[in-house]
Amino acid sequence: MRAIPMHLGNFFGWSAMLTRTMCRQGISGLAILIVLLMLLVPSTLADEIRNPFSGDPKAAKAGEFEFRINCAFCHGLGARGGGRGPDLTRTHKRHGDADADLFQNISQGIPGTVMPANGTNGQGVGMTDEEIWQIITYLRSIQVQSPAKPIGNAAHGKELFYGDANCSSCHMVEGSGGRLGPDLTAVGTARTVDSLVGSVRTPSKRLAWGLTETTKEFAQEYQTVTVVTPDGHEIKGVILNEDQFSLQMMDTAEHIHLFEKDKLRSIQKSRDSLMPVYNSTILSDVDLDDIVAYLLSVGAK
């Protein structure tokens, strides 16, 4: 592309400039037509996107290498889910399971989640379209066709969640519950059963250390912090965010506090979660299965 001289004072950014240049090159008519077509018949077009390697074991093997390099960091070796990414062997995926959905999610990322667009996570190399299809072929080769039998009683799990187990004092599901811990509405699809059970039995075991900088806008670890204010008040809660000079936190009564660090008497961070340890005498294995079943049923919606 040639240089674009700035003749006029107004500068509306690159997109306007590029559109102008595209118009000059006669691309715009075609581009607009394509966009209009896509808007009118999205499903038809999406249906036409098919994996060219479907069922090819050689492509699946190549996809496994690509998966290890590009995806396993979050989704785990074997795609059964890591501390961050969901289990991809399940056929139910929150953001779609059609070939077109998978291709879209891998190449463009999933807005509002930490799933980055292809080549932008700062650690793997970007993949070609062909390599993305190989990964999809690999995922198809390992997906679990029939869902595992329900592990518990979801209805009873919901009763426990909002009742005796006290989960809802700190966690929200579908807009109802507490604020101190993470919203668990989507956790059923985002995490493996093992990691859900592990989070309840040993909540201080961090399953998601190792964020890369590009995905680390917020401290998503619900790290415990205790600060002492200039007038001697001790406040305990979780870190909402933090940088070199400031700290944003929520205390156990769900009050938000905004601090400049150099004004505080002390800041004590801890890797011990504020979430109590639910051992099997407090919460039986059967009851925990029911709660997990409830979370899976919500996540599957």
């Binding site: 592309m1 040639r2 240089a3 674009i4 001289p5 700035m6 500068f11 950014g13 690159w14 997109s15 400039m17 590029l18 290498f65 690509e66 290890r68 390099i69 590009n70 396993a72 960091f73 070796l77 501390g83 080549g119 932008t120 700062g122 650690q123 793997g124 190399v125 970007g126 993949m127 070609t128 379209d129 390599e131 075991k205 961090r206 399953l207 250390w209 190792g210 964020l211 900088e213 590009t214 680390k216 670890e221 933090e242 940088d243 070199q244 000079f245």
Partner: protein
């Protein structure tokens, strides 16, 4: 009449000479200006600010005494996404820089208002390893130069952004790209290639600045019959990697380039490429006119952890000794005699678990527990290294070498992978260890003579920002949370900060226009310039 005509002619001649001189110094960036860059501290003429690579600005009006009143002067937004890694150049009031997706632009350096914009049209199937990034331009004469993600080298007219020449260095489809800011030397534009994750054969190129004709190419992996070829097993040299993706330095007295190189391919699996794998992870002393190798020093032999040695080296003078120092990605600080390439000293400046001993030359050698396995082994530093491409700085007055360090350990596991042209070729994967502490970072001040860390300024998470030192007794750096921070260069005490609202993946620089000093850095998708009120 005749005498007065003669007199008039003389005046005209004088005026012409004067005018010609004035225009030449305003518009033309000559090689002599690049050599003597310290005599025009208001300008920032090369990626690292000068040929020595020290990213030290002689500007001193912004100082420890007044930095607490520093304020944002302007912000320029690229309206692009992805990491914005550029270091701008400034020449006589005009700022030149690159941005994401191979954009380049020129701004009024006082106001941030654009003069021209250029975007190279990239094909859809480029092979960047680590984002659609570019780290900057070189300037020479009336042209600016940059390398692109589809492995082109482009010269733009500095006044308009018009393309003067555009050459394809190599076929990008084989995994080659450019992200480096080139270095202009004499009439040459010098740059090294990226692609260590694709099984390329690395090289450093020199192009005629006027025509774009390639004058020399140094292959960083020797071919058959060349010295060092026998450090590769079988045909592994053909896909041996050793890219050269960061900007080297230049010694005008000896007409030598000192250019660092990156990892052998595949990056994390040594199987199949037995040997030292020259000249991967090395510092190369090259004759600037011919590209002939004078000496080399290999920091990490037969690397299996992706520890590119591509960090900017810095030339230092100590009495009559001509030295060169590098804080290496493998966690060690190296001091070399740059006349001979001999290692003088080395010391760890970050947590390292891969070496317990040194060889006869004093080079740290790997231990048995560091080699990756299929099950995986935890090694420090991690895959991104104890530092990376973020620029270091050296201030001769404090005699401290400043480096952005990362504290991160990773599990390295091998994954045998066949080579395919243009496909990612790691041979491995890496993961954070569940047991590992959260990653963190620090700006560390190293005494280059002893290699000892004198102090550190701790970052709450690792940052990809480099460091600028200034004659005002200041250091500038950025962090992953978006802060731009000024510190006392002697003690590391933070003196001022500004929240820019986007993570920093760039190194700061300084310039002045009309006697007013500025410090600039890219953050998020914006370029910020700060100055006194």
């Amino acid at each position: 009449m005749i005498p007065s005509m003669k007199k008039l002619r003389g005046v005209w001649l004088l005026m012409l000479i004067f005018l010609g001189f004035a225009v030449a110094t305003r518009a033309q960036v000559t090689f002599e200006r690049l050599v003597n860059s310290s005599s025009e501290p208001q300008n920032w003429l090369t990626y690292s600010g000068n040929y020595a690579g020290n990213r030290f600005s002689p500007l001193d009006r912004v100082s420890t005494a007044n930095v607490n009143s520093l304020t944002a002067k302007w912000v320029y937004q690229t309206a692009a996404t992805g990491k914005f890694e550029t270091t701008p150049l400034v020449v006589d009031g005009i700022l030149y820089a690159t941005a994401q997706d191979d954009r380049a632009f020129a701004l009024d350096a006082r106001t941030g208002r654009p003069l021209w914009l250029f975007q190279h049209q990239l094909p859809s199937d480029i092979r960047p390893c680590c984002g659609r990034v570019n780290r900057g331009l070189a300037i020479l004469g009336d042209k600016v130069f940059f390398g692109t993600l589809d492995a082109h080298v482009i010269a733009l007219d500095a006044k308009t952004g018009n393309v003067i020449w555009d050459v394809a260095a190599v076929d990008y489809k084989e995994g080659y790209s450019f992200t480096v800011a080139p270095l202009a030397v004499k009439n040459l534009v010098i740059l090294g290639v990226s692609g260590g994750e694709y099984g390329i054969r690395g090289f450093i190129d020199a192009y005629d600045a006027d025509t774009g004709q390639r004058k020399w190419r140094f292959y960083t992996v020797p071919g058959p019959g060349e010295p060092g070829h026998d450090t590769w097993e079988g045909d592994s040299w053909k896909i041996g990697g050793a890219p050269a993706w960061n900007t080297g330095v230049y010694d005008a007295k000896t007409n030598q380039l000192f250019w660092p190189t990156g990892n052998p391919s595949p990056s994390n699996r040594g199987e199949g490429r037995a040997g030292d794998n020259l000249y991967s992870n090395s510092l190369l002393a090259l004759d600037a006119d011919t590209g002939k190798l004078n000496w080399y020093f290999q920091f990490t032999k037969h690397d299996e952890h992706d520890w590119d040695a591509t960090q900017v080296p810095i030339m230092l003078e100590s009495g009559d000794k001509h030295l060169i120092a590098q804080a290496n990605r493998n966690g060690f600080f190296y001091l070399l005699d740059r006349t001979t390439g001999k290692l003088l000293s080395t010391n760890a400046y970050a947590r390292t678990t891969w070496s317990d001993s040194k060889d006869a030359e004093g080079r740290p050698v790997p231990n048995q527990q560091s080699s990756p396995t299929p099950e995986g082994r935890t090694v420090c530093p991690g895959a991104l290294g104890a530092t990376n491409w973020m620029a270091p700085s050296f201030d001769a007055r404090t005699n401290l070498f400043y480096v952005t360090a990362r504290e991160q350990c990773d599990i390295f596991s091998t994954a045998p992978q066949p080579y395919e042209v243009g496909h990612a070729y790691y041979g491995s994967a890496y993961f954070p260890s569940d047991k590992a502490e959260p990653y963190w970072g620090a700006l560390r001040a190293i005494d280059p003579g002893s290699g000892q860390v004198k102090w550190e300024f701790r970052h709450i998470s690792p940052t990809w920002s480099g460091v600028l030192s200034t004659a005002g007794g200041l250091l500038f750096t950025g962090d992953a949370e978006g802060n731009f921070i000024a510190l006392d260069a002697a003690s590391g005490k933070p003196l001022w900060h500004f929240q820019m609202g986007g993570a920093v993946y760039a190194s700061p620089m300084a310039f002045a226009v009309d006697g007013k000093e500025y410090v600039a850095i890219a953050a998020g998708s914006s370029l910020y310039a700060f100055g006194l009120p």
